[in-house]
């Protein structure tokens, strides 16, 4: 806990510094700037441009800075996992045409690029517009920096039915996930034609981004379900410490990391050969699997430490694999305990999810802890909103989840009640100003 507290304190200090220093920068740049009008939400604190160079905090630690929106791949996948998330799955409203959907994707891209910079969703959006009109930006992020906001879009298998003429463009691997043993999926928490994942270091920034895009989509898309995540459970960069899930464990220590592009190409990014012909739009993209994993929190909490450790196959305090001594020690599945049994139980999470047990399969985990209040019986409605990115969900997630669903000791303490699969297109081309999400798919 003290580590987390220290982290939080450091973060607060960093952002205050950023605001102070950039406040000075902005003042120098525009000595005559009017006090009333502020087109960006938080002066230059948000930007990678005007004021960033004067920031006191080093780049890697600055929680207020902007993450580039454009690039070869979409942001929000290998971007070092931000602390907060708002995820929304949407269905296209019946009767919508392909042209209308394309227009929405353009409008979304434009508003998103602005918001990721820390700007309002539209120029003068909060209070610069006609007083008789509803403001174009809902305003709750005014004054907040970009906060590392990333928005990632994905298209679900259902989008490729006969509504929009996209059937022939559906990549072969974009088909619904099969049922797994123990699933208790609820339709109202599953599926969707499209998904938007907003991640940021400030929850208000993430919620603002989703809220404004949903509003822009009124009449064209309808929210199917959404999920808030309050704390990252994965590290996607070697610069990040492995966080804990709500069971108190460091899970996903062996996650794929941004610093290993070769492994990312092999396990995360869809390769041109994977998507020949009309499905080529997905090259450079990735598949997103989302699973809402409800944890039986109270049951877990009264379980002995020994059983908890054996369930994960790691020790709780430092996260080292059983039989090892440090978190990043490679698990030694051959080691035996004093009782002559494998030190790492064969039904433990770390054993079953390890690449060595899955023919080398790996995925990029990027999930979030969630709490949706209590369940009506006074029990926490909480768990892990599992998000993972991969090159082919059916070749990677499905065998992994089959193995876990069949044997994982953790199943006594969890239940999967939501599930979805989306194909995330590649990034927005920095050299094509008019580029938009899904351009290669829709044009």
């Amino acid at each position: 806990m003290t580590e987390r507290e220290a982290q939080a304190t450091g973060r607060g200090a960093a952002s205050r510094r950023a605001v102070l220093s950039t406040g000075v920068g902005a003042g120098l740049a525009a000595a005559t700037a009017g006090a009333v009008y502020a087109g960006s939400r938080a002066g230059a604190a948000a930007s990678g441009s005007s004021g960033a160079d004067s920031m006191a905090a080093p780049a890697g630690e600055d929680m207020s800075a902007a993450v580039p929106f454009r690039g070869v791949h979409q942001a929000g996948i290998v971007t070092p996992a931000q602390d907060r998330m708002h995820f929304v799955a949407l269905d296209v409203v019946p009767g919508t045409t392909r042209e209308e959907l394309t227009a929405l994707l353009r409008a979304w891209t434009k508003a998103t690029e602005r918001m990721t910079l820390g700007a309002e969703a539209a120029p003068g959006g909060v209070a610069g517009g006609n007083p008789l009109a509803a403001p174009a930006d809902t305003g709750e992020a005014m004054g907040l920096p970009a906060s590392g906001l990333t928005m990632t879009i994905g298209f679900g298998p259902s989008l490729f039915d006969d509504r929009f003429g996209l059937a022939d463009r559906r990549p072969e691997a974009l088909i619904e996930l099969p049922a797994f043993r123990g699933d208790a999926l609820r339709p109202e928490r599953s599926g969707g034609d499209m998904a938007l994942q907003a991640c940021a270091h400030d929850p208000q920034v993430a919620v603002h981004a989703i809220r404004n895009l949903v509003r822009i989509g009124a009449g064209t898309v309808s929210v199917r379900w959404s999920q808030l995540g309050f704390g990252r459970t994965s590290s996607t960069s070697t610069s990040q410490a492995t966080p804990r899930n709500l069971f108190g464990y460091k899970d996903g220590t062996n996650n794929l990391k941004a610093e290993d592009p070769e492994l990312l190409e092999r396990h995360v990014w869809v390769q041109p050969d994977d998507v020949p012909g009309a499905a080529a739009w997905l090259a450079g993209g990735s598949y997103l699997v989302a699973r809402r994993i409800r944890m039986h929190i109270e049951v877990w909490d009264r379980t002995s430490l020994q059983e908890q450790d054996a369930t994960f196959g790691r020790r709780k305090l430092k996260g080292e694999p059983m039989g090892g001594s440090e978190e990043f020690d490679e698990p030694d599945f051959a080691a035996l305990g004093s009782d002559g049994e494998p030190a790492i139980p064969r039904d433990s999470h770390v054993f079953l999810a390890h690449a060595s047990q899955l023919d080398g399969i790996r995925i990029l985990r990027r999930g979030y802890n969630f709490t949706d209040g209590t369940d009506g019986l006074g029990r926490l409605d909480a768990g892990l909103f599992f998000i993972a990115f991969m090159r082919d969900a059916h070749a990677q997630f499905v065998p992994m989840q089959r193995a876990l669903a069949a044997k994982d000791r953790l199943n006594e303490y969890i239940v999967h009640d939501g599930s979805a699969l989306f194909a995330c297109p590649p990034g927005i081309d920095p050299d094509v100003p008019s580029d938009f999400w899904g351009r290669a798919l829709f044009t």
Binding site: A29, G34, T96, R106, P433
Partner: protein, 373 residues
């Protein structure tokens, strides 16, 4: 179902942006040039006169920039976005009133940007009141009046059935009597204290009021059976309705009030009707839902001739969203009326809610469009 892609373009109140990036249009005098660099915003002049003006902005910096024309207190008169380095674009603006304005360049698209003062002199450009607006107000007023007459007639029939202890007849007239009320609710509601007496729900008791009106009789008819004071409640309902009908017929309406009323009716549907809380004993909520919608549509219908002149795209967007909602409501018809709300599947309620949101976003643009000429 057209997207809101177009709606982020705000129609300024005082001025009209004639469009960015169009071919040069003869504005009064030559264009004001703007040199927008990474650290300066230099305009070729700091004074101009009211009327149509063209700004020609060149991004001489290294970052993507924006250029705004702002009023002194920071309201956006017009703007042009996404000027990449080296790009020149035109912005046509009608400056309607003299005063202090400012240009504002925003390198990198964030931050407060860099101001350049612009003093505007000359006469205010006035526009005559649109005669179509007066015609619209007149037409709406006449319709409200007719609905008010209908409300009085139907309420009298309902009250008569209650007093005759004819429960079946009273039940069949309940939703019918409420329909004209729901159509003109914003007008009627503007007469304050009578609204809770006529349309209050049981929770008005918490505010120290007596539970009277339509919903008290609804509870008697569907749940408790007629009570000793049901007749008195019925008499009072008719008296209150008579008063509100007189007031509604004399209401002074204008374009903006009609637009606000059209929005309020939708808001009422979204908060009170979609939840099934309005008619919690009879479950005739869809009757009220449809009547609110008819009232909102009527307001938009009378305003359309003006809106068509000013923002054709808004009318097209609205029409499309309205057609969707019309279809969904029509699908709920059953016999003379509508299905009981308790029989409507959740998925269909969600579809109604989505369609309502889409219409509401369009109607929310109407006030500003009316104020723009």
């Amino acid at each position: 179902m057209r997207t809101r892609a177009t709606t982020v373009l705000l129609a300024p109140l005082l001025v009209v942006a004639l469009g960015a990036c169009t071919q040069a249009k003869s504005a009064g005098g030559s264009a004001i040039t703007v040199d927008a660099s990474d650290d300066a915003c230099t305009m070729s002049t700091s004074t101009t006169t009211t009327g149509d003006r063209e700004f020609r902005i060149t991004n001489t910096g290294t970052k993507v920039t924006e250029f705004y024309v702002l009023t002194e207190d920071g309201m956006v008169v017009s703007e042009v976005e996404n000027l990449t380095p080296g790009m020149t674009r035109s912005l046509h603006v009608t400056l309607k009133r003299p005063g202090a304005y400012k240009g504002n360049c925003k390198p990198g698209m964030v931050g407060d940007g860099i101001d350049a003062a612009l003093a505007v002199t000359g006469d205010t450009i006035t526009t005559d009141t649109d005669p179509k607006l007066e015609a619209a107000a007149g037409e709406y007023q006449a319709w409200v009046s007719a609905q008010a007459d209908e409300l009085l007639i139907r309420t009298a029939e309902f009250v008569a059935a209650v007093k005759a202890k004819d429960v079946a007849q009273a039940k069949s007239l309940y939703a019918v009597a409420r329909a004209p009320w729901e159509r003109i609710e914003p007008v009627a509601e503007s007469f304050g204290d009578l609204d809770p007496a006529i349309d209050g729900r049981e929770d008005v008791i918490a505010e120290g009021l007596e539970f009277t009106g339509f919903h008290r009789l609804e509870k008697d008819l569907w749940v408790d059976g007629l009570q000793a004071d049901s007749d008195a409640i019925a008499d009072r309902l008719l008296a209150d309705v008579t008063t509100i009908v007189e007031k509604s017929k004399a209401a002074d309406l204008d374009g903006l009030k009609i637009a606000n009323g059209a929005k309020e009716l939708l808001d009422e549907m979204a908060t009170g009707k979609i939840t099934g809380e309005e008619d919690r004993y009879s479950h005739t909520d869809l009757h009220d839902f449809a009547a609110n919608w008819e009232g909102s549509k009527k307001g938009m219908e009378v305003l359309k001739p003006i809106l068509t002149d000013r923002n054709q795209l808004l009318v097209a967007d609205y029409n499309q969203a309205a057609t969707t909602l019309d279809g969904l409501i029509a699908a709920q018809r059953e016999g003379e009326g509508y299905r009981l709300y308790t029989d409507v599947p959740q998925a269909e309620i969600k579809a109604l809610s989505d369609a309502l949101t889409a219409v509401g976003e369009q109607v929310g643009r109407v006030g500003a469009a009316l104020a723009t000429q």
